[in-house]
């Protein structure tokens, strides 16, 4: 925690940002972002032996930086194990970080403790994927939503009950449901309860961690529309984490694509989908089945599986699966290429991809479009 030297409450002017591994410039817009994440790393120790000595780290998040503006949505996509959930939880300090900074309204969030931290946390909430395990089965819905109101000393008794009734109504549930228990509700209704609980403290920022993945198609759109309405109404910023690319595109202003603990591409939502640059993004987008019986796009079927974050590939982490580097290597001279083993088969790839890690740099296209690939335009 050596990075937390800054005294709490001292407003920190956004510093010019330089990182050892991630040279992407996070230019704070005038007015300032609501949330600034700089070079965030979350490492989990791997312990072995009698004395549980640390023999290595699972680098679940390894150098992630981004900004979220007030009232806007940053979508975060990637496959399971890419670290997107860990990013959301580390920002809220539900998981300890290894390194990096999070600034909330210009304040160093990791520097806060005790009472001040609690006050700041009121403004930052989370909605979980699984509406079954994230609601206490022994509490009534009224108590689940009312608990944060009481803990933070906002209201008690009749006043609290009135607030709970108002919240239930706002998320589309009957206020009389406050006396019921979570098991009496369907999945979609439980997710509405989870949203009401997050709203109870009038937050400015909500981490939505796969909020609709566990829901049926016809219920998903109801919840997405509700989250959308709440954002317009209350100017809430979202970090919207999901693996469903169509949902993320629909919902986000900007989208970041993660692969093995890092952001490999980030752009305004429409731009990213219309004009993807990173080979992983291109493959990921092409893999989404279209609800169209005459699909127009070609599908790139990636070889191999996502590598383990405890032992990520050297250089660009995507190189063992990357179609672009293979294709380039086929036409390159032998001294530029390297032979590797991927999925048990020998493959020739570009040496640069194996030896050097690419950083996020601006790419041709709309401003704000960055990608981490040596060879894409």
């Amino acid at each position: 925690m050596a990075q937390n030297a800054t005294a709490p409450n001292s407003p920190i002017a956004p510093l010019p940002y330089v990182s050892s591994r991630d040279s992407r410039l996070v230019a704070p817009a005038t007015g300032g972002p609501l949330l600034e994440v700089r070079d965030l790393r979350t490492w989990f120790p791997i312990r072995r032996g009698v004395f549980s000595s640390t023999v290595g780290h699972v680098k679940a998040v390894d150098g992630v930086s981004f900004n979220i503006q007030p009232g806007k949505t940053l979508g975060m996509v990637g496959e399971s194990g890419c670290g997107k959930t860990t990013v959301g939880r580390t920002i809220l300090r539900l998981i300890p970080k290894h390194a990096g900074e999070v600034y909330y309204k210009g304040q160093d969030f990791f520097a806060y403790h005790g009472e001040e931290l609690r006050n700041l946390r009121r403004q930052m909430q989370i909605v979980f994927q699984d509406p079954v395990s994230s609601l206490n089965p022994r509490m009534t819905v009224g108590n689940i939503i009312g608990e944060p109101i009481e803990v933070h000393g906002i209201a008690r008794g009749a006043e609290k009950r009135e607030m709970v009734a108002g919240l239930l109504k706002r998320v589309g549930l009957d206020p009389t449901y406050a006396a019921r228990y979570p098991h009496e509700f369907s999945g979609g209704q439980r997710q509405r309860v989870g949203i009401a609980r997050a709203l109870a403290l009038s937050p400015d920022f909500i981490v939505c961690d796969e909020p609709v993945s566990a829901l049926d198609v016809s219920i998903q759109s109801q919840i997405l529309n509700l989250l959308d309405d709440l954002q317009r109404e209350r100017n809430i910023a979202y970090l919207f984490i999901a693996h469903n690319l169509a949902v993320v595109e629909h919902f986000s202003d900007e989208v970041a694509v993660m692969y093995l603990g890092r952001i490999v591409e980030q752009a305004p939502a429409r731009e990213l989908y219309a004009n993807p640059k990173h080979p992983y993004t291109i493959a990921l987008l092409s893999a989404v089945p279209e609800p169209n019986p005459r699909p127009k796009k070609h599908r790139i079927v990636l070889k191999g599986e996502v590598p383990s974050p405890s032992n990520p590939p050297t250089g660009c982490a995507f190189h063992p699966r990357c179609p672009l580097t293979r294709q380039l290597a086929a036409g390159a001279s032998a001294n530029e290429t390297v032979q590797i083993t991927s999925g048990g088969e020998p493959v020739r790839v570009m040496g640069r991809c194996v030896h050097e890690a690419p950083t996020l740099v601006p790419k041709k296209g709309e401003p704000g479009h960055v990608a981490a690939c040596w060879f894409t335009e």
Binding site: E79, S218, S221, V288, P323
Partner: protein, 404 residues
């Protein structure tokens, strides 16, 4: 015309519960032709998985009961076979793969042991030959180094690999029909693409039929030849994949299509189907979809404002009789009397397109035929293997085949 490989005729399945009989499958009829992929699509609890399990007679009895109907495999009624004869069908003629490959594989046996068990049981070969067949089937599903991996345990493999093992196991006895129950739901999209491509390839090579059970309309659109949409234990629409997506007839199907976010259609507000899927304990009377149905509301409102002719589709002949109905949240709304009193059955409203809705064009005179469609899809998605890209300018995204 070919004979269907499998025909379901008015299949009815019930479960005895403390609160009485529930009926997760009601009057389901469909047919699957050789080499065809038929998809059953619907939301959780609609009865699609129970239908699949009933084909193999795998529902636990009791509390489950087949209440009636026929399951004809090449004309032979599986419901009339003895348990012993049925064991000869399972795995050999019809194989099944499940959503969660971890729970479907036995963790204390190597994958080789598990595949070999099925092969020796059905093919009467020696253990040694069976291991050879198992190795080959692992190679067929794209597992590299099968000679070594055949001795691994399920926990040593990733989710995608386990699903490949499940497929290898299911296909080792060369079944005529593969039932795939949400085969890719637990997998990431890039792995999903691998598995679906593998199934397509194996189907082509072997001429096998697939009954694909899924809730993902994208998976349906790209893989099915023919689609049945299930809602509240019934098939409410049945058509070719092209027809279903071009001209959905049932208001539930329409609603589903409108409520899914599509890539490239950024930030338009999603349309929703109000309410939720009914609990089979408390199915509403009449059409099970009426408490959520925008069509019956729209019609009823139009009739109330004196526009009955415009509101009711041609050939529907539903009486312009408006009553107040109650939705799942207890709120009252105007609906057509027929919708809340009479449950519509599946009828052929257009040539080769079945739907179960009173307020559909031609519904009144449409014949209640058994849905049979020997159709193959027009366009099969083009896939590019990750290591064999077309020869094109490399720095261009379009060149990688994303756009046609």
């Amino acid at each position: 015309m070919q004979q269907p490989l499998l025909e379901l005729k008015n299949l009815n399945v019930g479960f005895d519960t403390e609160r009485g009989l529930i009926r997760p499958v009601r009057d389901v009829s469909l047919s699957i032709y050789p080499g065809q992929t038929v998809a059953l699509v619907g939301e959780s609890g609609c009865g699609k998985s129970v239908t699949a399990l009933s084909i193999l007679r795998l529902i636990p009895q009791p509390p489950g009961r087949i209440l009636g109907g026929e399951v004809l495999l090449e004309g032979r009624d599986l419901l009339k076979l003895s348990e012993k004869q049925m064991r000869g069908v399972r795995g050999k003629d019809i194989a099944m793969i499940f959503q969660e490959p971890m729970t479907s594989l036995n963790p204390v046996y190597t994958i080789g042991d598990q595949i070999v068990e099925a092969i020796t049981l059905h093919q009467g070969v020696s253990t040694r030959e069976a291991y050879q067949i198992a190795e080959e089937s692992l190679r067929d599903v794209g597992i590299s180094d099968p000679h070594r991996r055949i001795h691994e345990y399920p926990h040593q493999m990733s989710g995608g690999m386990r699903q490949r093992v499940m497929i290898a196991m299911a296909l080792s006895c060369k079944p005529k029909l593969l039932i795939a129950d949400e085969p890719t739901t637990a997998l990431d999209v890039t792995i999903q693409a691998q598995i679906l491509e593998l199934l397509r390839k194996l189907q082509q090579e072997r001429g096998m039929s697939i009954l694909l059970i899924t809730h993902d309309l994208g998976v349906v659109a790209e893989n099915a030849d023919v689609v049945g949409v299930m809602y509240a234990s019934r098939v409410v629409e049945f058509a070719t994949v092209e027809d279903l997506f071009d001209r959905p007839q049932h208001p539930y199907t329409e609603g589903l299509f409108r409520s899914i976010p599509k890539l490239g259609a950024h930030h338009e507000r999603l349309e929703t189907i109000p309410g939720m899927v009914p609990n089979p304990m408390r199915f509403p009377a009449g059409c099970k979809f009426h408490p959520r149905c925008p069509r019956t509301r729209g019609c009823a409102n139009a009739i109330k404002s004196g526009r009955a002719e415009a509101a009711i589709p041609k050939g529907s002949n539903v009486p312009p009789d408006v009553v107040q109905a109650v939705d799942a949240e207890g709120e009252s709304f105007p609906a057509l009397r027929k919708c809340i009193e009479v449950e519509p059955t599946l009828r052929e409203v257009h040539g080769s397109h079945w739907a179960a809705c009173h307020v559909t064009e031609n519904f009144d005179k449409a014949p209640g035929t058994v849905p049979q469609l020997e159709h193959r899809r027009e366009v099969v998605p083009v896939t590019i293997e990750g290591d064999a890209l077309p020869d094109v300018p490399v720095t261009n995204a379009a060149a990688m085949g994303l756009k046609a």
